[in-house]
Point group: C2
Chain length 344, copies 2
Amino acid sequence: MSIKQVAKEAGVSIATVSRYLNSPEHVREKTRLKVQEAIDKTGFSRNALARNFRRGKTSLVMVVLSAVGDPFFSGVMRGIWRVARREGYSILISETQFNTTGFNEYADMVFSKQADGIILLASISPFMRDGGAGSSALERRADGTVPPVVIGCETVTPELSHFPSVRVDNIGAAREAAGHLIDLGHKRIAFISGAHDSLLTSDRERGYRAAMEDAGLPVAEGWVQEGQLSIDGARRATRELLALESRPSAIFCATDEMALGAMHEIRAHGLEIPGDISIIGFDDMRYAATASPPLTTIAQPAEEIGEHTMERLCRAMRGDDIGAEPEVVPHRLVLRSSTAPPRE
Amino acid sequence: MSIKQVAKEAGVSIATVSRYLNSPEHVREKTRLKVQEAIDKTGFSRNALARNFRRGKTSLVMVVLSAVGDPFFSGVMRGIWRVARREGYSILISETQFNTTGFNEYADMVFSKQADGIILLASISPFMRDGGAGSSALERRADGTVPPVVIGCETVTPELSHFPSVRVDNIGAAREAAGHLIDLGHKRIAFISGAHDSLLTSDRERGYRAAMEDAGLPVAEGWVQEGQLSIDGARRATRELLALESRPSAIFCATDEMALGAMHEIRAHGLEIPGDISIIGFDDMRYAATASPPLTTIAQPAEEIGEHTMERLCRAMRGDDIGAEPEVVPHRLVLRSSTAPPRE
DNA sequence: TTGTAAGCGTTATCAC
DNA sequence: GTGATAACGCTTACAA
């Protein structure tokens, strides 16, 4: 079932079979028929491993994300796909499952030629911690060039600032989210962040703090809680907030996922949203609109982020210099029913 | 940056470098040091393409799913990962994006040796429709053996019944879900299915119809609506149901995703859940519990499905005969607050 | 313990 | 248009 057997079967050389496979227009009609027949007969399937090896490329792009199952990625992937199809790339996805080694393993795939490029959607903080093979894979390269990597959504650390990225202005958007609550008249506004080392949410936290400062409002002790980017984490964080002496009248959650957790916990305490407490999220994942009440949030143009990220990667894989500037795409405040003026 | 340059740098043969890489214990301490030094100096990274090609295996397992962003996959992947780590496999994920070619492309990767095995979580109906390369990849094999494929979650078509699968008893579980509504006293119970060709939800529909029949209840015209497996599809389906003369007092949704859409639509009509209409879902994805009211549903043991699926695949890749019997894992009815006795 | 050398299945570069 | 044939980078007998 190798090209060789097909050649024998068809009574031609292996070169001809290869040509038939790669550029049939360079093969005479009559020969083409013979070869196709031989292929059908032998049930041949070209060994992609050998092919990729020989060609030195795979036409595969690896998308690294923290976990499939995050609804936000649906849109981003759709955008990536649209471009990938157009440009002739296949997409392979890998999960870090929130751990360090996860990423390193996949970063190496570009280096070891198993993929032509990488799109990083996962949180990138993990692999800054050690100096393992993977992190260095992103730093150095034998010939000093930068490997084809584009970072999507995430905020970029200084260490990785030589990689291009596509994302919203997290600080500005967070500022706008907090600003919306302030505009409604809230003064006691809490923030639920991700983990303490999450870059993404630390930018959003910065925006929150900036908005508070602009408005001359204090950020009281305990008003910033870690929600671990999870529903349960957000519930715990909310529990803390509700127990506070100066209980906030509004909570800004760094992700919609956590906002859903917060809402659940608030209801469990017999409080009303937005009557007793207003909630605003971030991402506009599809479950934000079906929440009860529907969640006010900051929408990221997920599909657009996916498209632009992939487009930029394609240029990098083609060998173009795409620079390292982050591309900022527009966010949008989506007003729904989970925010309202405070009661008093 | 090939093994050859490292060999030259270290003053040894390429065989020694290769040995160092694969079984360092067979290399003298002193030589080991020399080689390691040369590797560091050259910044060498072994070309996995060449390696896999030569070895004829990749230690890679491909997980095919319809689309990233489905919260239900989180748990399944966690289970798959646990086993993969233990058995020394890496996981690569691919999306069909709900189209046929998507699957074919990836199915071929096993055939073409880029992955050692496949786990199919995606709906498998698409690739039954044509006789393309991919579908045949799952059917025939040069030497007549069955390629290492295990199907997770999904119901298996007769055409694919020679492949092993791991899943819940969809019919039985659906019967229980509908039965729960019947036990509560509901008589007008509707069902929101996926697409008409979705195997998964057609089994659930069968369970629903069986339960109704058992109870001697009719399934009136219009009580079974297609929800396209999406929130919006479910909203449309619900709109149809609410407009019905004999408006149902309870709706069984074939997935939690659709249940959230249905709930949203019901609330938009100013109706109460479960006061006016009871809702029950299927899957117990993580947003089911945070819905308002929390969603009564059928829980699938996602993590367990992932584990068992991967375990079985590992045995298949090892060459063991794993048979083709579907393995049925237990489901569980999770009572929350979206179901209650009918008003009257 | 190390080196030599024969492949693995393709693609690509030549002649013809 | 087609056919030899030399790579590609690595693993693995087999020899030394």
